[in-house]
Symmetry: C2
Subunit: 336 residues, 2 copies
């Protein structure tokens, strides 16, 4: 395209819309189903359960160390399907673009998405593009809805934790939130923090194929590990006890959180999972996860217990015990 900027006319459904879709969007996501350019995509998925999920991405800024809104929008929805025990297959792409956006920035974002999709074999099969006036958006908002398939009988719901289960974290926490925060606020952390944004579908598929008694899966995104563990405890009607010293944390994240007065347990991750499994399966789960680059720092951080149902307790480094709360509001707005 000759034009550098997104115009309102790119959203009008006319020839400029066609040009944007045909020259900028479709070429990134080449596949036969999408190229029919019908209003919907026809899919065939025989004899499996279908899992359907949606997420909108409004991260600010669009580009941050370790990723951008495109990589995030692909990984986030892929990970939601993976946490359901499903293999992600198809995705929709809903773009809300702000008038004046650089088309080169749009291209970068779409290219990041398509890289993740190629790695994971997921296909964008339907989409929609709208343009809003300057000052009515923030460059790019993306909605991706995902469809995945699951073998019958797999249940990794947050309500499925059992007494005595091991609580496993697949790696160090807080990196996505602090990377976005640092970029947005122009903070110079001592050493640069990169977002952990990554697609977890292969890690989780291998885990489910290898380890018999995986009970819950959850990705600790908004609200961090704290919100995810509280979801599991309250949905399963059990208590959870965590040892703080076992939670993997990088020094640069500890430093940045101290500086800003944030609890890293409440900071968003985009490439980590919490796995709750039977105690008897926990060793094989750890071994399996550590065999994958995305799970190499996996460790057991706690247990599912019978007391204090619905509550998560943390044994702090200095021997005390505190309740792990969920934040009431937004300490880190627009992190995903």
């Amino acid at each position: 395209m000759n034009e550098d900027l997104i115009l309102l006319a790119h959203g009008g459904g006319g020839s400029l819309s066609k040009k944007l879709i045909g020259e900028v969007i479709i070429p990134e996501f080449h596949n036969q189903i999408l190229e029919k350019l019908d209003d919907g995509a026809c899919l065939t998925v025989p004899e499996l359960e279908i899992v359907f999920t949606t997420d909108s991405y409004v991260v600010d800024p669009l580009f941050f160390p370790g990723g951008d809104i495109g990589k995030l929008a692909a990984c986030g929805t892929i990970n939601d399907l993976a946490m359901e025990g499903a293999q992600p297959k198809y995705m929709s792409l809903g773009l809300i673009l702000e008038e004046g956006l650089l088309i080169s920035d749009l291209r970068k974002v779409l290219c990041s998405m398509s890289k993740v999709l190629k790695e994971t074999g997921v296909k964008i099969v339907t989409g929609d593009t709208k343009v809003v006036e300057r000052g009515r958006g923030s460059g790019i908002y993306i909605n991706t809805s995902g469809l995945g398939v699951r073998k019958q009988g797999v249940n990794a719901a947050v309500s499925n934790a059992k007494l005595g289960d091991a609580v496993i974290l697949t790696g160090s926490i807080g990196e996505h939130g602090m990377a976005v925060m640092g970029q947005r606020e122009g903070l110079n952390f001592k050493s640069s923090i990169e977002s952990d944004v990554a697609p977890l579908c292969d890690l989780i598929r291998i885990l489910l194929e290898t380890v018999p008694e995986v009970h819950c899966l959850r990705d600790p995104t908004r609200g961090g590990v704290s919100a995810a563990l509280n979801d599991i405890a309250s949905s399963s009607g059990t208590g959870i006890e965590i040892q703080q010293k076992r939670v993997p944390l990088k020094d640069n994240v500890i430093g940045a959180c101290n500086l800003l007065g944030l609890d890293p347990m409440q900071v968003a991750n985009e490439g980590k999972a919490i796995v709750v499994c039977a105690e008897s399966s926990s060793e094989s789960a750890i071994n399996c996860l550590r065999n994958n680059e995305l799970g190499k720092d996996a460790c057991i951080i706690g247990r599912v217990v019978s007391g204090h149902a619905g509550t998560v307790l943390v044994e702090t480094g200095i021997g005390g015990i505190r309740i792990l709360d969920i934040p009431s509001g937004e300490s880190l707005p627009r992190i995903c």
Copy 2:
């Protein structure tokens, strides 16, 4: 909720997010799949083709004569599935709310959606809510992705028009676009124009059950009848000829379009369909459509012809012939 306004904290994934989702959003869309509140919804749809579609809605203003963004977001996605020959079954709901939105306005919008969903039997089974700062949105943006099922062998794609086919319009045009435009610009049209926004799934289901040779279905939304007919002509590699005098148009729409210098053929509709069917089926198609309130003004407006492949010609009221162009850009921004 005590609060009247959406706060950034409602988007944080913490207890205020839970309150918004639990008290304002979920109660509108009560169903067992959604209430699991997992990140994805598990669906079973045996032995049918699955159709998947997505649309974002950014209409400005949120409320307009005849509807609001909620009714539009439900009907628009339902209609996209209907135009694929599919019965809509499930929907996702992605909300991007602007800080400072009145929660009472959010409730009104959700209530409009749920009314359409109840009428049509479609279920919202998964969702996501984000909040952006004041001046980064426009009250409410909605993405709805839809899943529908279709019997094997149904093909109503825009590429499927055949020589000699009748081109049918299910009713009068231009009402949605002019209703939104009038409301936004504060224009006082002589008589108030109401949006035609409506779910077409039942109308189309009965049509497909009754009439054997329906070849294409398309809803003339952005870009109007003009964009839809051009899509059919270019995808099918045929010509189309339309008689202007047969196109149903209400006086108030003609007046408003004249006032603003707009061609009603290019104005968006949200409750109309273009049906292309075999000439031999056209009478039964018209009878079938007219039996339904939403198709009572259906009529044949033209034919698929062998000449001028990819081009739509209009016989104007005064005996001339013009090419029906698609607009290059955005005469009516943010109409849907």
